[in-house]
Symmetry: C2
């Protein structure tokens, strides 16, 4: 690694926790790209300087804008000329967004592409490999967030070229993908979403009764519904997302946003007693959508990037001990698994296989083409991706040359960079997409982002501190809040934070090392 000090090389970090674990020599950085290397070094070093910058608001705003623009311009601007509809551009391919947009033209697979099973085996977990930076809460939030717009076709069989996305941050996880679903979820009074009280806390109503979907919820869909028993069905919540019940953390975040919606609606109703249900609901939704956008930029993107610079961050913490709060606090205490090869549990390997298969079906360009797209030199050896000699050897055996490496495998074959939660290529793509998707949201347009759209009260709510921790804190009952004093809602592992705070990162050394 570029920034591994000689001291660190002399005393290698514990094997389970770093990318140099299986490596006698560090990763070959000769093809990292000079500009990228300088930029990454500057941004992930000199923490005191970056901290000082934060105290000069006008300068901070300029740097904020410049870094965001630079992150967005990592990938060419939309619209993409091609989609999965065809290998050439047409009016339908530019306008029919049920087909996936392509960053690069399709690239027929080289004849020597390895067997699907062998490529899938690269993902199978071989040892516990925790992420140096992230908690399980980060993984929960990332899944919940991206499920709002990265929505592969759910047909039977699914069409690998298509999606069911609205292509906007619109909180469809809470409000549903369509207006007709939204109607089913609304109470019709006071702008509220339907809810029930369980142990003094607000939860969505149950979807079913006696294993059958209640009449008022006909039109809501749940992934995997047919495989559930009647008693399992009776414990499903009625929520906008078809995956909202698939996993505890996912459900907890949906409950959190439902409570925040109803909290905002009640505040608006008190402030504007003449407003009808419709206006209260729509204005609460406007406010909640901007809250999510702030969280994405100020909490999620800041966690992903390895930079010391904070994209408009207001750090606060939340506390809790039962129900939704407890789940999220627990997730904030657990380290996430590292995003890497050889770290997928056996029961999930079929998903990696399906992803590989989908990528091959739509003829995604190879890994090196995506490096070139974001301005990083093409790799000429597997040692430029990872210091792990075992992985280098496996990739060489499977693909022969790095030019033939598949995109999907390459994304996860890269070592983490210092301070990162994600490998370089996937991190840059996620940041570029997050910023450009989020900042073009119609609610942020100059003439829309006004008091008229959000109401004066709504604008005040938007100026308050806004992190997921704050959201939890203000959406748990009094008893729970009391009991939660020791908990923290965070995407960043406490061990990493402790080390970052004591300045271990300043020399370029990773806090997990």
């Amino acid at each position: 690694m570029t920034d591994v000090s000689s001291r660190e090389r002399a005393a290698p970090p514990p094997p389970v926790d770093t990318d140099t674990a299986a490596a006698a020599v560090p990763r070959d950085t000769s093809r990292d790209g000079q500009l990228q290397r300088i930029e990454a070094y500057a941004l992930s070093h000199g923490a005191p300087l970056w901290n000082a910058l934060r105290r000069v608001p006008p300068l901070n705003a300029v740097v904020n804008r410049a870094l965001i623009n630079r992150a967005i311009l990592t990938i060419p601007p939309r619209p993409n000329p091609l989609s999965t509809m065809a290998s050439y551009t047409s009016w339908p391919s530019l306008t029919d967004r049920t087909f996936d947009s392509r960053h690069l033209p399709p690239s027929p697979a080289p004849s020597a592409l390895p067997d699907l099973g062998a490529a899938t085996a690269l993902f199978a977990r071989t040892a516990t490999r925790p992420c140096p930076k992230s908690t399980v809460f980060f993984a929960y939030f990332a899944q919940w967030l991206t499920d709002g717009f990265l929505r592969s076709d759910r047909g039977d069989p699914p069409d690998p070229r298509k999606n069911t996305s609205n292509h906007e941050i619109d909180l469809c996880q809470v409000y549903g993908l369509t207006e007709s679903v939204t109607r089913l979820l609304r109470s019709g009074d006071g702008g509220l979403l339907k809810a029930q009280d369980i142990d003094g806390e607000e939860y969505p109503p149950f979807l079913c009764s006696g294993g059958v979907v209640r009449p008022e919820f006909r039109g809501l869909s749940v992934v995997g519904f047919d495989e559930l028993t009647a008693s399992q069905r009776d414990r499903l919540f009625a929520l906008g997302g078809d995956r909202s019940n698939s996993q505890l953390g996912y459900t907890a975040i949906s409950v959190l946003f439902l409570r925040e919606h109803n909290r905002i609606a009640r505040l608006l109703a008190a402030e504007y007693p003449r407003w009808d249900d419709e206006r209260l609901f729509q204005t609460a939704r406007n406010v909640l959508t901007i809250l999510l956008i702030r969280i994405i930029i100020e909490e999620y993107v800041n966690h992903i990037t390895p930079y010391h610079f904070r994209f408009r961050l207001d750090p606060t913490v939340g506390r809790g001990s039962h129900g939704m709060g407890r789940i999220l606090v627990e997730a904030s205490g657990q380290r996430a698994g590292r995003i890497a090869l050889h770290n997928t549990a056996p029961e999930l390997l079929h998903l990696e296989r399906a992803s590989l298969q989908q990528a091959r079906t739509v003829e995604l360009a190879p890994y090196n083409a995506y490096r070139a797209m974001i301005g990083v030199p093409r790799a000429t050896s597997f040692a430029q991706l990872t210091a792990d000699r075992t992985i280098q050897r496996q990739l060489r055996e499977l693909y022969g040359h790095v030019d033939r490496l598949e995109y999907f495998v390459g994304l996860f074959a890269e070592d983490l960079r210092p301070n990162s939660a994600l490998p370089n290529l996937v991190g840059r793509l996620v940041a570029a997409d997050a910023f450009s998707q989020v900042l073009t949201n119609p609610l942020l347009a100059p003439r829309v982002f006004t008091e008229r759209t959000f109401s004066p009260l709504g604008m005040r709510l938007l100026r308050q501190p806004c992190t997921l921790g704050e959201l939890v804190r203000r959406n748990v009952g009094r008893t729970e809040a009391q009991a939660l004093r020791t908990g923290t809602i965070t995407m960043t592992w406490a061990g990493w934070r402790r080390q970052a705070e004591t300045g271990v990162t300043r020399g370029g050394r990773r806090p997990d090392a």
Copy 2:
């Protein structure tokens, strides 16, 4: 008028042909706005200077860009915060584009709004009032073009808040509003649209046989179909637009674009013999869409604006004497009616009434609010709109004060400005919308407007001169072209052109005066 010389006042122009006809004193220009007045004066005077500019391409390009940007910025940028869905902004109102977007918030009508019949009567034709600048061909093209995106709801009864537009320049008049309609219109071979030969010329196939829609065309709709006799139905063409058969000029322009599509597809097929029907069709459509966009900017907008500056114009003329060509040449020889009050034929007055009614139903803001929106001072007297004392008196009797004047009436109450085909407010709104709508077309995006999208041949076709005259010339058979030597395809009346060429406009005098 600002620029009417004392010589002109001394010898007033013939009564039927100018805006000062019924006026002893010229229009009060004190509220025209200083900046607008200077700008309009500079752009509509000094023709030799503007002609010289055209011969310095880099400078011409800079001015072209600056003037287009200025025209677009006349109105606030999209997205508009409000639509006709509600009086406040919501996620559905921002994203559901079947509701009309609003430039200004709804404005409940003042109680003193005149009777609908009385307001409609303002439009009834009282004398022949020809337009000083436009031919009937301009009117044909304007109707055909705007029908592609200004599409009021056609329901029964129609919803005055809604539209059936795709909101893009997508040639739906030729290709239909949806992919399923497009499929019905395609021959399935060589990228061609279905066509038939009539007297050696290419026409769309007939929609019906024996008064019944042919099976291959089930799914096409025709406005007013139920009121037609079987023999009338048998003369309908199968075309994408539901109004394509409503009027001869409209049909002629649709036929013209169908022929140009097939001409391009045949050229592509000869150049790229391995391409299948789909790729030939889609690429021909890409090329034809850009041709239309060039025509809008270089011919239509240049005709509308009173400026001497030409937005990238390549003036050419076309010739013809029979069929489609003949219709368009004839329309190019006739003067259009002036866009003004008191100039609507009795049989069309019900449309003015319906427009007034729709504007009242959706509570459009009054005329003065739209003036303020584009940066022109609010009028304080009707004499600032028109020099016509009769109209001033009628408006005063109906509305009392100019602040209560309805938008729709005000648009047409304004006198034409020198060199203009349209009154000031409507002209500025049309130019702003045309440029901003056209220039954001996805086919013009930097990474899309490439040889890959249009093919090398397609790019060569796009660099050719491209006016409606050229389009006609290359899409009539040899015999017709021979016979058409004396004809001209133009939006601009020959009388106006002759006067403009002899420089009568230079002193600010209108060529029609």
